[in-house]
Symmetry: D2
Subunit: 220 residues, 4 copies
């Protein structure tokens, strides 16, 4: 699934589904293992969500491949319940692939921590020129240092926050939904919202009932 | 897999294998997704273990059904990186199924926090009688209270630590191996060692190379 | 602070206060260290709580000594964000100090997972007799085994869930408030509610503004 | 405490000391509260470290103010057991303060993931010129965009990984020592090693016995 200008989110692997939530919840009531078959119980899943019985939502796991600009990954990795493996600029020269916004955004006059889209061709051209100039200068100096023999881990200091990196991220359903709730909302940065939408869509395709049950709770 | 006199460990579900460890490690070096096929790289896995590069061991997940005495579950749940759902004696009357040791153990004269086996038929008979007596008295009073209308969550106060309970436990490979290392060693209580051996055997059957690589490290 | 018939909650140590929340929040906006003095900013603290900006509530820490029945400690230790050290019945013979409820509770006809108080002298007498009988039988067999030389870790199997244990618990303010919210509410067991009320009162005495801000959010 | 060319580590607050470790360990053996006074027991602390009894090292907490380049903070924040609040380039224009290495480093011929110092004046001049050039171009474009009205969260994409940021980091002693062990070792990047050395010195000044006990273990 494509995200932003050069980004990607791919669901590599997963464990469990809506039925696994029901099975985990039922063990609290001592329901025997043979009873664990059949359709997932929608009513029970909604009950769990409404009453904050969250542990049955922890036994289902999703593992994603993500390609995103470093400033997005920086926000993502503040979430401490996931497992991450990210490409290292210490071990490998990065590629000159950069984030460019699809639209220009300016400060939101109603919320000093947020931004709004502005359809302004002159400003768009200025931004394109500024990104091109800064990215090109950084790359030129990065390559010049590597060719002269400077260590990768030192030379990377000049690379911009808008350069793309890639990572594998694994977490359980409960933690993904908590992340989704915080990152899909209006005061999150637009770019990470796009990743949250993509992740949410992929998770919903595997666990539609549980996704809806927790998504509804987070709106209220 | 049977454990102790009435216990059980069953691998319900899992995600990933030795190859997933290699894939996660390789992303650090920027190996592209298409290269991710083929046999797992034993040398790389041993290198990761030896150099404490532990994050590639976090993207593989194991989910177990466990039936164990409460005193074993108490020790188990001190591990805070797993997800648990356990039968609740608040919601459900428990069953009179109890732990009985297969051998008598006495304090270890060389380690005041541990115990050793003693082949003493008289002591075995005393222990059997003591367990029978205490368990029967507890059950009689538990049932008497429930029949008289006392709430389950109050009546359970008299139940013994040796009664069996059941739970679902999910965690990633790295966390399982840390738990296994602490619980399989000689100064862990004999009963939880048996669960660690069972869990270890089931995990090793799915991830033999990684299991050996981390097990070796923990011995050194 | 006394809790239940023989329990206790004592605040041993703490770090930080309402002002520390404000300081942590302000670094996001680049406020310099010298500006970090003065009265805590109530409006900012309420804003953080309302908008789920929770990280500033993590730099304040509370450490408690707790004396509680094992069934309460079992529920408490399901919270995985705290640090625990608990008295071990493997290393030390326990004392015959037991939980007795101050009032009789029966199943709640409106909520099968909960209970309500019933003022019934006959039932109270039956319960007292049942607790006395089961506790005395357990203790007699426990002591008989220890005197005969059985290891403490084996003999403890017969001890009841109502026996008192003690622990030290440390956690940050955010995690304490999450625990408090779940354990003070009506569908938590009455006994752990009492501990939550005691802990809450002690925390509120140190961080009154933040406590109110998060407590209000949890009600809504 | 100064670190690198413009960095800083300051211990803002802490809770507990070597004696707190002993107190937490003793509760396992049922030592009563009144016995909790006196000098910390060095032998017990070393015993805990050698036998991996780590929970007593979790009740002591350290809170630091850190000023570091973004590439250092990126590595730091991969540690998921700490609490962080960092200056946000979404909410606040950053300052043009940049990392410059004190010495030139080149790839280590014996370890492709590491680097070694090279005393080469010509290379040093090239590096200084490359850093100056890339940093200046990035700052020029950043300011040009902000002045033209582009949102801070968009304009920051061009800022380099070598720009300084600041954060508050809080964690318990056990987690700090785990971080210290990984970050002070030879295959960690030189720059984060300097932060680990500074943090270690400040922690050792508060908990000298425990610091030595765990530092020795990590070397073996």
């Amino acid at each position: 699934m494509k995200v932003l200008n050069e980004g990607e989110v791919t669901l590599i692997d997963s464990m469990g589904n809506d039925l696994a939530v029901v099975q985990a919840a039922r063990i609290s009531n001592g329901a025997a293992m043979p009873d664990w078959r059949g359709a997932p119980d929608e009513k029970l899943i909604r009950f769990l969500a409404e009453h904050q019985h969250m542990t049955p939502f922890e036994h289902e796991v999703f593992k994603f491949y993500v390609r995103a600009p470093i400033f997005v990954v920086r926000e993502w990795q503040r979430h401490r319940t996931f497992s991450y493996n990210e490409r290292s600029a210490r071990y490998k020269k990065l590629e000159p692939e950069y984030f460019y916004p699809l639209m220009v955004r300016v400060p939101d006059p109603n919320n000093k921590q947020s931004s709004i889209v502005k359809d302004d061709k002159q400003l768009a051209a200025l931004l394109k020129g500024a990104f091109d100039g800064a990215y090109a200068a950084a790359w030129t100096e990065y390559e010049r240092m590597l060719e002269a023999g400077v260590a990768r881990e030192v030379a990377r200091s000049v690379l911009p926050l808008g350069i793309y990196t890639e990572m594998i991220v694994t977490g359980n359903f409960r933690n993904w939904m908590h992340w989704w709730e915080l990152r899909v909302q209006a005061d999150a940065q637009y770019e990470i919202q796009q990743y949250a939408l993509a992740v949410g869509e992929l998770i919903e395709s595997v666990m539609p009932i549980s996704f809806k049950a927790l998504a509804v709770m987070s709106k209220s």
